[in-house]
Symmetry: C2
Subunit: 166 residues, 2 copies
Amino acid sequence: MAIQNMQEAFVHELKDIYYAEKQIVKALPKMAKKAQNQELRAAFQEHLEQSKEHIQRIEQVFEALGKTPRGEKCEGINGIIEEGEKLLEEQVDESVRDAMLIGAAQRVEHYEIAVYGTLCTWAEMMDLDGLDLLKEILAEEKETDKKLTKLAKEVINVEATVEAEE
Amino acid sequence: MAIQNMQEAFVHELKDIYYAEKQIVKALPKMAKKAQNQELRAAFQEHLEQSKEHIQRIEQVFEALGKTPRGEKCEGINGIIEEGEKLLEEQVDESVRDAMLIGAAQRVEHYEIAVYGTLCTWAEMMDLDGLDLLKEILAEEKETDKKLTKLAKEVINVEATVEAEE
């Protein structure tokens, strides 16, 4: 049997997010390159550095459990990133690309918020050592999501909107 | 060119979530069937009914824009659902299955929260008629996510945890 108890379930989720963070680190430079707005580009670059730190912190959580850090392929993040990359390949007018990039990035953020949320709830219930590290990461992901919403309001090209209404 | 202005981008996102809600309506009965905890099963069934209502409200938003409701395949939700279904097929001990089901369901919720969040931000910026309907749905998705976190704390089998610690 693959997963027999809550601690094994926890390690399964940890492997999932470890894999996801590594995929995100690969995807973010492509997103930053496509962003036109300077602030948005900087936000993607900042989140790239943050994601690299998250990987190190997840490794610490693995170690606290006496486990070797290992990722496990997850279809969820792969699908979300695939959707975002398809968008980058599609012919999207420059006036709306940044807004759509933010939409794609917020899907990634919310995937992370869901998994870190699950890990925090479980770690709390099981009184695990990694809880503080996981709480810190979760807070940072929520912060990034808020920042992206704020940026969305700034990058939306009102003229492109007006044109559509005519 | 596929997407030329913000209104077209908005319709693109609306098609994405219309497709996603329909996939969720197909997936939820399987999740409810697998749930052992009565409250969790009821929560999945309740969310199924709610998702059907969301589909109707999205149709109203399409109509308000003078568009025919249509879905567009999105890899994001497909990946998340595939991951959840793979989990249901895996040999997971009964003592942890409900907790893992909730983890899978919260990934779905957060995908929806991300997309409805984007739609609300854009609708607000563009002063679109569907904003109130979208805000209602977003609030309900956030409520479901909170309810699932609460249920996670109830369904976690403490004995299964203790066993793992020994």
